[in-house]
Amino acid sequence: MTNLYIARNPRAAARNLGGEMMIMSGRDSTLFTLNKTATILWQAADGTTPLNEIVENRICSEFNVALSEALQDAETLARELAGHEIMRISEQPIAGSGGVLR
């Protein structure tokens, strides 16, 4: 499987409200709240850590699931978030995904 990199889209707005991540799409101002898995992906999406590493270290340990299954789900989720322009996804490391997580 090709390694993927994910990064927070700098055009999105985000804030953690009482443990729940609120994200506003930079494309059309649609508001989303992220579930626990999506929040982990969002927080780890620094553009340089490969998705499989994020899944192995942050998701499998948290949810006690097999790597292959979790990776597939995470990739689907990441592509969905990318479709809303909340996240960027690439086969190469992504520069400029800054921002302080709050």
């Binding site: 409200l17 101002s29 508001l31 302080v100």
Partner: protein, 373 residues
């Protein structure tokens, strides 16, 4: 408000989080709008570093929606530095309020790149002779409209904000039509805010009772007039427990000098971020908590008013009239224009005026210089 935003607002209310804050970056302005409530002198605005520190504190406090306004925001030389910090570093959802006359193609592109949620531009008329007579800047309508086109061409969400006054009330349908043609949203507001120093003379610029009635009965604006203008059901115990508005509950305002108020239209000082941390003011200011404690059932006069559950009563305007638990006359006028039923405040004022009868003529010599000598 979208369902999810409403849900988030409820959550913020429960967690005592200021979900939305407006900062006026400056009171300086390149227009001189006849109805403006601000003093445009600079008495010591926060520096770039101070504002960045404030933005850090706001993000830490959980603020999500950040409105940057003024004065005219583009008069701050550090405007883009602050905007970039707010967006890139702190990921606020940023809304801008501006006259936009300094916005050209390059600025519009930069605003777009920084992912600003919306840009609200003040437009008072489609006719230069009316708009420019309000801003007191010749050519301002053309420049604001050019800017709106630049912003729109970048794919940004643009909103025209139109304050209704006697001077421009007849033009609002054309402004709305022009906005629609440009693919731009538009808002109307008949509220004139008293000057920050308490001077209420600007209120005379507002639209009269008859014009207000016509605005509220315009189907193009309100949709179903019968529904919009219906008298609300009498308030029950539940509705009297409702909050008067979001000021101090999920929103607040910070002036260019760091003063924190419940709202831009509610000049009750609650603290200053140059002296205290924002979160301490938000959580512990006695004034902020006083505003927070008010429920509809605590309002003097209004609690017994027919309109209490449907009124747009602004506690800030009430505060500027002398009592934040009292009525706001501008909102009484709105309820009356909408329904034809006078508010409890209007009835009480009328009764008071009727009691002030002169019982006998004052002798002409009293009060004259000769009599006092």
């Amino acid at each position: 408000m979208s369902g999810l935003l409403e849900e988030m607002t409820d959550r913020a209310l429960k967690l005592n989080v200021p979900l939305s804050v407006q900062i006026d970056l400056t009171y300086r302005c390149n227009e001189r709008c006849v109805h403006c409530y601000l003093d445009h002198e600079d008495y010591g605005e926060m520096s770039t570093a101070e504002i960045k520190q404030l933005l850090d504190q706001l993000a830490e406090a959980g603020v999500f929606i950040l409105t940057l306004s003024g004065g005219e925001i583009f008069l701050r030389k550090d405007f883009f530095e602050l905007l970039e910090y707010a967006r890139r570093q702190l990921t606020f959802c940023v809304k801008l309020k501006t006259n936009a006359i300094l916005v050209r193609d390059a600025e519009a592109a930069r605003i777009r790149d920084l992912g600003v949620e919306s840009v609200q531009i003040s437009i008072y008329s489609h006719r230069p002779e009316v708009h420019d007579a309000i801003t007191l800047v010749p050519g301002s309508l053309k420049r604001s409209l050019d800017a709106a086109r630049f912003l729109k061409s970048q794919g940004l969400r643009v909103i025209f904000a139109n304050v209704l006054m006697a001077q421009n009330v007849q033009d609002y349908p054309a402004v709305r039509a022009m906005a629609a043609e440009m693919g731009i949203e538009s808002t109307l507001d008949p509220t004139i805010t008293p000057m920050m120093d308490g001077n209420r003379s600007v209120l005379s610029l507002g639209i009269g009772r008859e014009d207000l009635r016509e605005v509220f009965h315009d189907t193009a604006l309100v949709g179903n007039v019968e529904e919009f203008c219906a008298i609300a059901d009498p308030a029950d115990e539940n509705s009297l427990h409702a909050l008067p508005c979001s000021a101090s509950h999920t929103t607040c305002y910070v002036s260019p000098y760091g003063d924190v108020f419940p709202c831009v239209q509610f000049p009750l000082p609650t603290g200053n971020v140059r002296k205290q941390r924002f979160i301490d003011i938000w959580r512990h200011s006695p004034q902020m908590n006083d505003v927070r404690s008010i429920r509809l059932k605590h309002l003097t006069t209004c609690t017994s008013c027919t309109h209490v559950s449907s009124c747009s009563r602004c506690p800030g305007l009430a505060y500027m009239e002398g009592n934040m638990r009292g009525p706001s006359s501008q909102d009484c006028e709105r309820s009356f224009a909408r329904t034809g039923i006078p508010s409890a405040n209007m009835i009480a004022k009328k009764r008071l005026a009727a009691d002030l009868v002169q019982i006998r003529n004052i002798p002409s010599s009293i009060g004259s210089p000769a009599a006092m000598a």
